[in-house]
């Protein structure tokens, strides 16, 4: 299994600011995924990030709000832009198991953002 490290683990942010979350994996992976878990709700996929190409965003999420970088096969960042209290969530980075498109994922510990 992959070991995934996220920074920051938690942060308190002011309305209107932006925050970048980093995700580092201990092995090279093709696909990285960013999920959001809002308080009391389930995990929702924000986007899929492949190295060397633009991220693919799910319905309801846009690049201007959640720009993603994927500079190499072990690293990705997610920026939450112009934050509002509704962006208070846990943001999780995940990678696939490398066994094809089964949906089996490994997750980081998440970054808990609170927007005041």
């Amino acid at each position: 299994s992959a070991v995934i490290s996220q920074k920051p683990s938690r942060d308190i942010c002011q309305r209107g600011t932006s925050l970048t979350i980093q995700c580092q994996v201990d092995s090279q992976v093709t696909m990285m995924f960013w999920y959001r878990q809002q308080p009391g709700q389930s995990l929702t996929l924000i986007a899929t990030a492949n190295q060397g190409s633009e991220a693919t965003y799910e319905s309801g999420f846009v690049i201007d709000k959640f720009p993603i970088s994927r500079p190499n096969l072990t690293f990705s960042t997610l920026t939450v832009s112009n934050m509002s209290p509704e962006d208070s969530s846990i943001y999780l980075c995940s990678v696939d198991s490398g066994q094809g498109n089964t949906g089996e994922l490994f997750f980081g510990e998440g970054s808990r953002l609170t927007v005041l």
């Binding site: 995990l43 996929l45 995940s94 949906g103 994922l105 997750f107 980081g108 998440g110």
Partner: protein, 115 residues
């Protein structure tokens, strides 16, 4: 709308009680099914998975789940829970088996096991 439903949001049990957490999904076709667990302060971990074959799958820590295709269900079971099973449990479905790596999660069930 297509979705994954977990019937219980909070479950409280005493040690040694039996556990069954319900999960239903509304996707047709071939799906891959998962249960993930998140222990307090830890990251999401895979508990067990079903891709094909025997519909009764066994996972870590004595958990098992049964896929019933006709009922679109994938319920999680454990005959005798322990205090260490206190965690949040998520059912997840990949409705694009083999074509796309996308997981749809249920809302989660918080399990509290009392000694």
């Amino acid at each position: 709308a297509q979705s994954v439903s977990q019937h219980n949001h909070h479950v409280i049990l005493s040690e040694a009680a039996s556990l069954e957490l319900g999960c239903n999904y509304s996707y047709g076709g071939t799906v891959n099914l998962f249960w993930y667990v998140q222990y307090p302060g830890q990251h999401l971990q895979l508990l067990l998975k079903y891709f094909s074959g025997d519909p009764l799958v066994k996972g870590i820590k004595g958990f098992e789940a049964e896929f019933i295709k006709s009922k679109f269900s994938f319920n999680l079971r454990k005959p005798s829970v322990q205090w260490s099973d206190t965690a949040e449990y998520f059912c997840a479905v990949n409705p694009f088996s083999g074509g796309y790596n996308k997981l749809i999660f249920g809302a989660g069930t918080r399990l509290a096991v009392h000694p």
